[in-house]
């Protein structure tokens, strides 16, 4: 079951990444697109056990770092998404999270992940950007991610729950 879950999760990350870089730029606001990879990671963190979610966060971040249009220092998204997965896994209660809790978790994770990525950029001076510009990008990214939550999170959470029956009962 774990093997199958990994295959499905990897496929979800790849589809999310390709849609994120090839489809969403057509509707992007000043180049800011919804971070679908982050949504996949949060969905996993809210449904399946934490170690899996953490590893998935790392893997999804690494894919974002290495897949073609990316040119920043590798490892920055990996760090940001791992920590976002950790936070999202902490939020989860013993029962199924309510819709409001899911939206809140997505907003918080998106804020933390994008800010961490931006901060690592400031530390490494990867591209020198103004803090005001960064803040605007972070906030727009949060809005995008929350907007897409109702369409992306429920099916993904259902999928992950079905793939790990030991959690489905609680």
């Amino acid at each position: 079951m774990t093997g199958l879950r990994w295959v499905i999760a990897t496929a979800a990350v790849v589809v999310a990444l390709v849609v994120q870089v090839s489809l969403f730029p057509h509707v992007a606001w000043h180049g800011v697109v919804p971070n679908l990879c982050l949504l996949v990671v949060v969905a996993a963190a809210l449904t399946v056990e934490a170690p899996f979610a953490l590893l998935l966060g790392f893997a999804a971040g690494l894919t974002l770092d290495l897949a073609p249009p990316a040119d920043h220092v590798a490892g920055r998204w990996a760090l940001a998404l791992t920590i976002a997965a950790f936070l999202a896994a902490r939020v989860r209660q013993d029962q199924k999270p309510s819709a409001l809790a899911v939206v809140g978790t997505v907003a918080a994770s998106s804020f933390v992940a994008t800010s961490l990525f931006a901060l690592s950029g400031v530390l490494l001076q990867d591209p020198a950007m103004s803090v005001a510009g960064l803040l605007q990008v972070v906030l727009v990214a949060v809005v995008w991610d929350v907007l897409l939550t109702p369409f992306v999170l429920p099916p993904l959470m259902k999928l992950f729950t079905r793939l790990s029956p030991q959690w489905a009962t609680t």
């Binding site: 489809l23 180049g31 490892g75 760090l79």
Partner: protein
């Protein structure tokens, strides 16, 4: 027995809660391990400046995901034209007015041709220089754009090493300079746009032939444009002047490619230098078809546009 049963039940409940507790708390050790792994990757990538040890990994991921990106972009392309079907008569009237205005402007420029002959001669010289280089264009389409959250302005194009493309080649479209190729896979290439804050292009002001450096401003808006700093502090660039690349045949940017026009000039008294804002000719928010400059006669998997305009 009943009391024992109840005790048992409570016991079970407690162990159950215990399990829940441990499940709710993600393992800190794993978090630390993964965070350290990320930081190791960052260190590896930063320290190996010229040839990063992660370059092969980038290539492998690129080979795997590049075709998928190209496929999705091809599937999406028919739908991106849909908004154009819903243009109203008002929009079209606006467009006609804009075109008439630009037509009048162009007519004015033609009437000033004699005045600008000197400048035109210099442009011609530059153009023939570009032709003398004997470069050919490999056509390609943009299939993926880096997100703004990632802070770098890069795109993926659907032509790679099989089309004869290699790193550091110049990428143009029919308006002007787009950027340069960073790395290639078999079927895709990653292009650094000139608006990226890390991108610096050698620029030459068309009328005075002064050279300087054009840096990206990190914004997709055309007005905020690029920054030009001239090497010679004494010379003042003039507005509406055209900036072209000065580059070399071996360097990343081929010479004589138009970059943009100067819209604003600021002089900084403290630094005793001139800073000019250059509005790029290319609209980077609507990039689609681009051409990669390759040496003439290059083997390619597609039709190549030669310097004289013929298809090969």
């Amino acid at each position: 027995m009943g009391a024992f049963g109840g005790h048992d039940g409570r016991e079970r409940r407690w162990t159950g809660l215990d399990r829940l507790e441990s499940r709710n708390r993600p393992p800190r050790s794993l978090l630390v391990a993964l965070a350290l792994a990320s930081i190791t990757l960052i260190t590896l990538d930063v320290s190996g400046e010229g040839a990063s040890p992660l370059e092969p990994a980038r290539r492998v991921v690129g080979e795997a995901l590049g075709p998928a990106e190209a496929g999705v972009a091809a599937a999406v392309r028919p739908f991106t034209t849909v908004p154009a079907w819903f243009r109203s008569k008002g929009d079209l009237a606006d467009q006609v007015r804009d075109l008439e205005a630009s037509n009048a402007e162009l007519r004015g420029q033609v009437e000033l041709a004699g005045f600008d002959r000197n400048r035109l001669e210099q442009y011609d010289g530059l153009t023939t220089a570009a032709e003398d280089l004997g470069s050919a264009l490999v056509p390609a389409r943009v299939v993926a754009l880096g997100s703004r959250q990632s802070q770098s302005f890069t795109v993926t194009i659907d032509a790679g090493s099989e089309a004869g493309i290699g790193p550091d080649m110049t990428v143009v479209n029919n308006d002007g300079l787009v950027g340069r190729v960073l790395r290639v896979t078999r079927s895709t290439a990653t292009v650094l746009l000139v608006i990226d804050p890390d991108s610096t292009v050698g620029g030459r002001v068309g009328s005075s032939m002064e050279i300087g450096f054009v840096t990206g401003s990190g914004s997709l808006r055309q007005e905020s444009g690029l920054d030009l700093r001239l090497v010679d502090d004494a010379s003042v660039p003039s507005r509406d002047d055209t900036v072209v690349t000065w580059g070399s045949t071996t360097g990343p940017y081929a010479p004589g490619v138009p970059i943009g026009t100067i819209t604003e000039v600021y002089s900084s008294l403290r630094e005793a230098s001139q800073r000019a804002v250059v509005k790029p000719f290319v609209d980077f928010s609507a990039l689609d078809v681009v051409g990669v400059m390759v040496p003439s006669g290059m083997q390619s998997d597609r039709a190549v546009i030669e310097a004289d305009g013929s298809l090969r």
